[in-house]
Symmetry: C2
């Protein structure tokens, strides 16, 4: 297999390192910055550096576009124009609606690995950067099932946990669980500095809460300005909702309403237990197979439906029939309960299910 | 030395365990709940359990009041009434203005260890709970220097880092670096649950930012309702300021102002580096001695002035002259720079300074 990496920063460089270490195939890269390309070669991340974009995509089976968010849309368009007909093309941008809406090519699958937002540059690239990390994929009804499967398996092979989600849900969710926490961290650290500077006081000793709450403050602007801007409508909505929540709490405090403050705090405790409880570990995998027509969008639909229901697909394989008219999707799920849930969801979509 | 502990929950139990383990003296305790007292005896935290409050304070040299914040003020008053003339009395409440304003007795020093807010009960008590933990002390101009020194050294002996601060600054600071982060954690986790419940969706995979930002959400209401209420004016002020900050950011996002968003994010990054940078480690201690009149408030004034300047006092000792008319305060500071700063501050207060 030939793998093209376009943009060898932290993410592109780590994809290249991981692909080579796991023996997925031959990695060729291109970067607009010759120094980055040179550095990636020096790190042993590449089999070869291409002279131009077209050279990197020559005979490629998979292409990863890992340029900054601001340059993503035009670069993906260029890559799709240059890539062979059977090449899956994906990106690694942190927001997905715009890029997915702009591309209708069945070879394109939007992607977003949850890894590495704290540093930048190929110097920090690591073969194990994606080990255990969720890697969101945003297939649409126009996405090729075969190419989606190829990408899915490559990501699993480099240790990531691919998870299908539609682009709008992805962006709304990330606004809530990532972009809003980053805004709050920035706000809190800025407010603290303002107060302490006004008093000419040093940072006081405090419990772990302040440090935890501000750990992601001031994440690299080279990445985050684009993230904030590309998802600003969803983020503004979450800021407004959080502001309203704060105003309600302010009202309880102002009234000195102990019972209501306790109820509010207990509700938060229950939410936290439910949302961030420890994930199940030591899982045993169960295989479920579904017979599906071999046409664009079917595998995506199935993966999206399972993702919406919170069913975690640990692995996935697609076996087309010889005439390519239909196929079998094999899924591996973390428990018998997950497998039962997957079976009933897939059957509700009209596909026969087998348990090997 | 005889040590009285009134209230043997997590904090009182840990003080008792630590005092016995470090051989500070004989520990006697009393608790309104006979089962808690029994459990503390069973854990080996006490030399003896008293039959009543007066019994615990009989001949005591130091008394720690570690009852819930709601019962703190009347209990401290009772303890001061029952304690011998030479007994230092302290509390462990998380807010300090009210209790300090209520007590003018020179034997009382308000206290607040930054430890253990996540769990409760003597079952979780540990001798090393305060190891390396800041323990705020809020002496006033009426506090006995001798008794303040005794308490200070006991806390250092059980591994804590005592730090003097005036009560109002303490409460304003904690509103900012502890109570506000707790409110934000509650708000964020509640908002996430609301969104996910509305979509009937499970908690999505996310980066570490959400988990970090919500780690302290729903801290025990038995402690936190009182904390929120006792500091509500300071907390409301911080909520308002944070809300204003969020509204400004919302405006930048709404206008899609990339340059302003980058500037905001860079400012936050600078604030974070400044406020939560790694503390200096591997410190060498420098001793500074000051000659002071032996009267209430002098040592407190000195410790407060150094605390305000961010000078970290690692250890402190007071040596009264034989006629008790004056004394020498010996301070140990973490570096030559800190010692120079301490010297100039103490001299500016009018006390001669020596370097041994």
């Amino acid at each position: 297999m030939r793998i093209a990496v376009v943009g060898v920063g932290l993410i592109g460089g780590s994809i290249a390192l991981a692909a080579r270490e796991r023996g997925l195939g031959e990695v060729t890269a291109w970067d607009a910055d010759p120094e980055a390309l040179e550095a990636a070669l020096d790190r042993g991340a590449l089999d070869s550096a291409a002279d131009d974009l077209a050279g990197a995509l020559d005979d490629a089976d998979a292409a990863f576009v890992a340029v900054p968010v601001g340059a993503l849309a035009p670069t993906v368009t260029q890559v799709l124009a240059a890539a062979p007909p059977g090449c899956v093309v994906t990106d690694v941008g942190s927001t997905k609606r715009a890029i997915v809406a702009a591309q209708t090519d069945q070879r394109f699958v939007g992607g977003h690995p949850l890894a590495g937002a704290e540093t930048a540059g190929v110097a920090h690239a690591r073969a194990d950067l994606f080990e255990g990390a969720t890697w969101y994929l945003t297939p649409t009804s126009g996405t090729s099932g075969l190419l989606f499967e190829r990408l899915y398996r490559m990501l699993a092979a480099i240790g990531a946990r691919p998870e299908a989600i539609d682009a709008a849900t992805h962006d709304a969710t990330l606004a809530l669980v990532s972009h809003l926490p980053h805004v709050l961290a920035n706000a809190l650290v800025s407010r603290a500095a303002e107060v302490l500077d006004a008093a000419d006081a040093p940072m006081p000793a405090s419990g772990p809460s302040f440090r935890d709450a501000t750990r992601v403050a001031g994440a690299p602007s080279s990445i985050w300005t684009d993230i904030y801007l590309s998802n600003r409508d969803a983020l503004v909505k979450q800021i407004d909702a959080l502001t309203e929540h704060l105003q309600n709490v302010r009202g309880l405090l102002d009234r000195g309403d102990a019972a209501a403050i306790t109820a509010w705090n207990e509700a938060a405790a229950a939410c936290r237990r439910r949302l961030t409880g420890d994930e199940a570990t030591g899982q045993e995998l169960v295989e479920v197979r579904a017979a599906v027509p071999n046409q664009p969008g079917v595998v995506a639909e199935l993966a999206l439906a399972l993702g919406r229901a919170g069913v975690n697909i640990v692995d996935l394989a697609l076996h087309p029939a010889p005439d390519m008219s239909e196929g079998v999707v094999a899924l591996w799920l973390p428990s018998a309960g997950g497998a039962d849930q997957a079976q009933s969801i897939i059957e509700s979509l009209g596909h026969p299910v087998f348990r090997p």
